[in-house]
Symmetry: C2
Subunit: 235 residues, 2 copies
């Protein structure tokens, strides 16, 4: 009997936002797989989950370097898949932990597709997303009644932000730190400077909530920052 691969969302940062199911799956798995960008750096997902992972649990570190070089990326993916499959072949269950939810911009999904494609059993355990948690911390809704919601990743310089701002009622922009300057300008153009809020490091000890977007500086803003724009009302 082969083992099973679980993709487990551990939520946006606050360890208490882990679900009962995620906890059970992590308790039951033979291995917990942890994504890292380099061997030395700590894993954000592991930092969140470490309080509920039993001390004697074996951790597999999978390295996914921040790179645009396809050769390097392919190599790291192949290595990760083969490490996981090796455990599954021995009948061991592997739980891969991932920030937020595994279906929302997670590296897990590539592993999932590869391993599922090879015929192994897989299961995704959903988690609380950073945009829901950010809205909660800011005390605003992401959608009411007939309103639409757009979720846009950090790479939104490539998408039609203008058309999204014009056509959607509420917009969640993830990982905005590198584009704050451009965003401020765009919000000013559209008269939306007072309709936005930024939640940075949501649920962590050094969480910050900024509602005066115009006064903000790009410098020092955390990578883990989400902007919520609500066209329907001031924030």
């Amino acid at each position: 009997m082969k083992g099973k691969l679980y993709g487990v969302g551990v939520g946006p940062g606050d360890p208490e936002l882990i679900t009962l199911k995620a906890k059970r799956v992590l308790d039951g798995a033979d291995y917990v797989a942890v994504p890292k960008t380099t061997r030395d750096k700590s894993s954000q997902a592991l930092t969140i989950a470490k309080g509920i992972i039993k001390e004697n649990k074996e951790i597999i570190e999978l390295i996914f370097p921040m790179s645009f070089d396809e050769r390097i990326l392919d190599e790291s993916w192949n290595k990760a898949v083969s490490e996981v499959v090796q455990k599954l072949d021995k009948g061991k269950d592997v739980a891969f932990i991932t920030l937020g939810d595994p279906t929302i911009y997670s590296t897990y999904i590539y592993l999932h597709k590869a391993v599922k494609g090879m015929g192994y059993q897989t299961e995704i355990i959903p988690g609380v997303t950073s945009f829901c948690a950010s809205a909660a911390r800011a005390g605003v809704s992401l959608g009411e009644n007939r309103e639409t919601i757009a979720v846009v990743p950090s790479a939104y310089e490539c998408v039609e932000l203008d058309s999204i701002l014009d056509n959607f009622d509420n917009i969640a922009l993830m990982k905005i730190s590198r584009n704050l300057g451009k965003l401020k300008q765009k919000l000013a153009e559209k008269g939306l400077l007072n309709n936005a809020v930024i939640v940075s490091k949501c649920g962590l000890e050094d969480e910050r909530i900024y509602s005066d977007i115009n006064a903000m500086e790009e410098e020092g803003l955390s990578y883990f920052s989400t902007m919520i724009i609500k066209k329907g009302g001031c924030i």
Copy 2:
């Protein structure tokens, strides 16, 4: 000292998708407030959470009738707010439970705004959304890399579905049951019939996953059905 109002997301259906924080808040609250459409009907949120709510916990039923009559709606809201505020004034904490996440199309947000506006302490405890859980059950991602995600409520006959289908990479359409016929036609027009999946009653015992959209009948499809459209690939 006044009490505090909590809006607690209990997730999409599977009771195990409740977070550790939601459990702690429900354990600690003096009252659990439960939304119902009529006095006789059961509450979906309570059905999900009842296993973790202690037996001796006092439940407040708040009735929000399904109505478009503003007088009836206002009356039920005022009554709900006054029932909650009465407890808060006695220094009691009230936890209002809501399906999925409180910031995503939840009736909780109106109570939140009213009670917060009166100067009481409020806190939103985020939950797993039905669209994330549906994607997880279908084994697909909602967004990868630079892809955009649109979340559209049941009332999408009012919004520009054409433009959303043209401009977004992934679309989650919630509570689709009444519009399945129109949706099938629209997907056929756009050549997207093989790019969609429907998850009905996600995480419940009678959950169903439909990937042959063309063969589906509107009749009998649950109200709690989410369609995920992935333009990037067949499902």
